[in-house]
């Protein structure tokens, strides 16, 4: 038994070392940065950096926008991917083909997709021409708060396939007899989807939910590519704040901001995880 565990440990060791070197150590190293003043003398300042950063209006703006964008993106992804996965399950033929097609955007390089988006949402682009054809006014999609829409759309389009694949795997494990019983009881498609399918796949749903949120928090490079370091106030995210501070060597502010955000996210996920429905789907 001990020998078996030893072998397992040895096999896991390279990965664990990597995790230690590239995640755990930097994590605690970052905490060190956040409590020092960052000058050559490098003096301990306690939580002064945290207080100063928290009071900074750009940090607050970035935090607010990050949560807003995440709220717009994550639930959308979660719901759409679940529905798509459920629909695909009902397809006997060509479900694999559709699944693969939906996964394609995930594999495309972001820069290529951004270029396409820039062309589509340009003032004279496809969207505006369609709007004009339908009798509406053109919109400056790539400027100001209007940029949120293309960004959310891009995020959903890119990440939908991957989330759907995760749901598909979980759905394939749901026993068909449950649906038979439900049909016999007169349950329709929607009822089956939300009363049978969803509870059965709740751990996966939670995983998809977490991933959707985490990826939504990382919406930065798309906004940065289009809007730059200082885009419109409505789409200035926390990553902008950290990126700009980093280029000015203000590592204290970067780490303080990151850990404060990390704390908020951990609290959120902890609350969700503590929910019985997540931990014990069968009991729910």
């Amino acid at each position: 038994m001990f020998r078996k565990k030893k072998i397992v440990f040895l096999l896991l060791l390279p990965g664990l070392l990597g995790l230690l070197a590239f995640y755990v150590v930097p994590f605690f190293g970052g905490i060190y940065f956040s409590v020092m003043d960052g000058t050559f003398e490098n003096q301990f300042v306690g939580i002064d950096n945290y207080v100063r950063v928290f009071q900074n209006r750009m940090f607050q703006l970035g935090l607010k926008n990050t949560w807003t964008l995440s709220l717009m993106c994550a639930p959308t992804i979660w719901l759409l991917s679940f529905l798509l996965a459920a629909m695909l399950k009902t397809l006997k033929e060509r479900s694999t083909t559709f699944r693969n097609l939906l996964l394609l955007p995930y594999l495309m390089p972001s820069s290529a997709m951004l270029l396409i988006w820039l062309i589509m949402f340009d003032y004279g682009g496809v969207w505006n021409r369609l709007a004009v054809a339908l009798g509406y006014e053109r919109v400056l999609w790539l400027e100001g708060s209007a940029l949120r829409f293309p960004i959310v759309l891009l995020y959903v389009w890119k990440n939908l396939g991957f989330s759907m694949v995760l749901f598909s795997s979980a759905l394939s494990a749901v026993h068909p007899s449950l649906y038979e019983y439900a049909s016999l009881e007169g349950a329709g498609w929607w009822t089956q989807a939300f009363r049978i399918t969803l509870p059965q796949v709740w751990p996966t749903a939670f995983l998809v939910f977490v991933l959707a949120w985490v990826n939504a928090f990382k919406i930065f490079k798309e906004v940065y590519f289009i809007g730059g370091s200082y885009p419109a106030e409505e789409i200035y995210t926390l990553q902008h704040y950290m990126n700009n501070k980093f280029s000015r060597l203000e590592y204290q502010d970067v780490t303080s901001a990151a850990y404060m955000f990390e704390l908020g996210v951990m609290v959120l996920f902890a609350m969700m995880y503590l929910s019985k429905a997540v931990r014990s789907p069968s009991e729910s």
Partner: protein, 780 residues
């Protein structure tokens, strides 16, 4: 056991001796004393057998041939009558320059050797001749004349002949290969020409790059059948993705067949002074201050160093000695393969050759290298500093991130050095403020510079205007330009308000107006905003400029007549002359009047100065040496124009050290002209000489104005009119070219779009203000 002990003792002895062996012996010949124009300079050198011959001149253009052998303390003059004349232009000038005993027909432009004889190339005629020296006199034996001068010289259409600068000569058996940059009708071309020593026949070496405008090339002698050539494409010499220079490819080239064989690669930003040593089978070259050696098929290793970078190819190798010469000195260093030393300094962005030379006198065994990597962005610089890879850094306040580094404490405290603190205490307050942080001196300011507006009095008078008509703010400047366009341009086609270089007046002035606006906030310490009445007023003034009646398109390349017409136009105003940094305009105030230009009629005059700061890396492993270097930097500033620019306590004028020589020279020339006038018979020549004499005598009468580099009057003007308005320009988006600073790029992009008319002013104001406000809020 005994054998092991002996071996160990030998190894220990060697280990102890090795550091000693690594120390390169040094010597310096012909060291130039600053502004001492009787100092000698090595113009060229070559090795014949066990002797290095040097062509040496002084600024009086007297010259001689010197010879040096290893072990000698100093070179010995062996040819008193050698006539060094590299840039005569034509025979008339050459004859005029020749002194007693010098033979213009055997004037020397370059020397070279086949190992047995000393040869020379004439500066004009293409004559190649041998030089022999006996009893301090040189004698000559003609060898051949180059058949096609256009492959060797720059031939000016006005019958002037110029030797190309930095040409290299490689000797291959009975021919030489001349590698040079020649200017002709096609423009600039890098030519590789084979010249036969038997009949002077000149033809291009038959390689695909022998006539190329794309190659950066240097060559040197190798064997009787081949020469060595290092080449790199100009346009693709730097990989911006990796931040590395692409290597030079070094080839052995047969000059007859053009066949190339790869010898090796040189990974360096610049290669100069190549010399092949057959005894060591090594190609030596200079990489900055490093003496490098490359063997066939191997990587290059260091063999020594020279005190400061030189920018010529005047080098030679003899025995175990490397010689490298430029205008300032001829350095000798012993060669040690795999040269290493524990004490060295590495600088980044520092180009202070005088300081390096002075440092080398105090610390001859401590090399000063230039960091050869590329540092993109503050993070890279900081990482490199933390690693201790650079010791001394130079950053410009406006164009770099000095303030960021200073405020983070990344500049070492220099308060322990009396030399440095004394200098800082003498500075004008704005300069002092940048050097001191939390009551500690942390950097040395150097290189203060600003340019501004001047009016040309003669041009103004020629069109019936005076100094009082010249505007003193940018809003009035727009009106002045429009008035010129509407009322004066047609009547005065040979005068323009400003000389433009291909852009319209509006385009030229766009950045001027914007820069002035930004500087106004910098000077007053207010937070930058574009949503102001002043900005709209200034931009509207810019937009209103009309210039269609006097703007000229840039002439086509090669259209000499059009170019002559273009440049011959007088200009009323210029914004390109120095206000702070270069004292020339202050000594020329009869012809040029400084205009303290303000932004609007209601704003005050401020003189924004860009300032360079040199500081020491606090993680440096050689802090004491770095401080010593900075003290040498301070010493190199004292007694120069820069001291007058920077220090508030100057009271005495700065004498022109070459004044006596200038007076002597012009008097000699006048005497020569008088003599020629008495002897010439041709009437036309007599008239020309008489005119020339009159001009020279008039010039001689005005010599007194050149007695001082900085006169009392100029000094007083600077102190009273300029210095009190100085402020140091800080980094802003117009100047910031940090590739990682996207914010600046974005605003620069907005500016371009505004200037090109892609966006309206209000949109620019809205977007730019938004970005600027966010930047300011981030830093709260």
């Amino acid at each position: 056991m005994k054998t092991i002990r002996t071996n160990l003792l030998c190894i220990l002895a060697l280990a102890l001796l090795l550091p000693v062996l690594s120390l390169a012996d040094t010597a310096v010949f012909f060291e130039n004393q600053e502004s001492d124009y009787s100092s000698l300079h090595v113009a060229d050198m070559t090795r014949v057998g066990d002797t290095v011959y040097m062509l040496v001149e002084d600024d009086a253009q007297s010259s001689g041939l010197y010879a040096w052998k290893e072990g000698q303390e100093a070179p010995e003059k062996v040819g008193d009558n050698i006539f060094l004349a590299q840039y005569a232009g034509n025979m008339e000038n050459l004859n005029g320059q020749a002194q007693d005993g010098q033979d213009p027909a055997h004037a020397v432009a370059r020397i070279f050797s086949d190992g047995e004889s000393l040869y020379a190339l004439h500066p004009l005629s293409g004559l190649i001749f041998r030089i022999s020296v006996e009893n301090g006199q040189a004698s000559y034996e003609d060898v051949c004349t180059v058949s096609d001068l256009s492959l060797v010289y720059n031939l000016d259409g006005n019958d002037y002949v110029y030797l190309p600068g930095e040409a290299q000569i490689a000797v291959c058996g009975d021919a030489i290969v001349w590698s040079s940059i020649i200017w002709n009708e096609e423009g600039q071309n890098m030519l590789l020409t084979r010249i036969s020593l038997s009949d002077g026949k000149a033809e291009l070496v038959p390689t695909e790059t022998a006539n190329s405008s794309d190659m950066n090339r240097t060559a040197c002698s190798y064997t009787a059948d081949a020469f060595l050539m290092a080449e790199r494409d100009w346009e693709h010499d730097y990989d911006s993705e990796t931040g590395e220079w692409k290597p030079y490819q070094v080839y052995e080239v047969n000059p007859v067949t053009g066949e190339k064989t790869l010898f090796g690669e040189i990974k360096s930003s610049n290669v100069s002074g190549m010399r092949y040593d057959p005894e060591k089978h090594t190609l030596f070259y200079l990489d900055g201050t490093k003496i490098m050696g490359l063997r066939r098929g191997e990587a290059a290793v260091q063999w020594g160093f020279i005190p400061s970078s030189i920018y010529t190819s005047t080098t030679e190798v003899i025995g175990g000695t490397f010689l490298a010469a430029d205008w300032n000195a001829c350095y000798l260093r012993n060669l040690t393969e795999n040269f290493r030393t524990d004490n060295e300094l590495t600088t980044y962005g520092v180009y202070q050759r005088e300081a390096s030379r002075q440092f080398a006198k105090q610390y001859p065994d401590v090399p000063v290298y230039t960091y050869d990597g590329s540092l993109n962005g503050n993070e890279n610089v900081l990482e490199t500093m933390r690693a201790g890879d650079i010791d001394i850094i130079s950053m410009n306040i406006a164009y770099g991130s000095y303030e960021t580094f200073r405020d983070k404490g990344y500049c070492m405290d220099l308060s322990g050095s009396k030399v440095i603190t004394d200098y800082i205490s003498r500075l004008y307050d704005p300069f002092k403020a940048e050097a001191v942080y939390k009551d500690r001196v942390v950097a040395i300011p150097t290189g203060a510079y600003s340019s501004g507006w001047y009016a040309f009095n003669e041009a103004l008078e020629s069109v019936g205007l005076s100094r009082e008509d010249v505007p003193t703010n940018l809003v009035d400047l727009s009106e002045f330009l429009n008035e010129w366009n509407d009322d004066y341009a047609e009547d005065h086609p040979d005068v323009v308000p400003m000389m433009l270089y291909g852009n319209s007046t509006r385009q030229t002035l766009a950045y001027t107006y914007l820069e002035k606006y930004l500087k106004e906030f910098d000077a007053t310490g207010k937070e930058l905003r574009f949503d102001t009445e002043e900005f709209r007023t200034v931009m509207q003034a810019l937009d209103s400029i009309r210039s269609d009646n006097y703007e000229l398109e840039m002439p086509e390349d090669g259209d000499d007549e059009a170019w002559e017409s273009f440049w011959s136009r007088g200009e009323l105003l210029s914004q390109d002359y120095s206000v702070v940094g270069d004292w020339y305009p202050y000594g020329n105030r009869e012809n040029m009047t400084f205009i303290p230009m303000t932004l609007t009629p209601d704003t005050e005059y401020h003189e924004g100065v860009t300032l360079n700061m040199v500081f020491i890396n606090p993680w440096s492993k050689h802090q004491d040496l770095a401080v010593a270097y900075l003290e040498c930097l301070v010493e190199s500033i004292l007694g120069t124009q820069e001291e007058y620019t920077m220090c508030a306590d100057m009271t005495e004028p700065l004498e022109n050290p070459s004044f006596d020589r200038m007076v002597e020279s012009i008097n000699e020339y006048i005497a020569q002209l008088r003599e020629n006038l008495d002897t010439v018979e041709d009437d036309e020549q007599k008239e020309i000489l008489a005119q020339l004499l009159e001009e020279e005598e008039k010039y001689a009468g005005q010599m007194e104005q050149y007695r001082y580099t900085i006169s009392e009057e100029a000094l007083k003007y600077y102190q009273e009119e300029i210095a009190s308005h100085i402020f140091v320009v800080h980094s802003n988006f117009l100047y910031n070219f940090d590739p990682n600073d996207q914010a600046s790029s974005e605003i620069q992009s907005l500016v371009s779009r505004l200037m090109d008319g892609q966006i309206e002013l209000e949109q620019f104001i809205r977007e730019a203000d938004g970005k600027v406000r966010m930047m300011q809020w981030e830093n709260e």
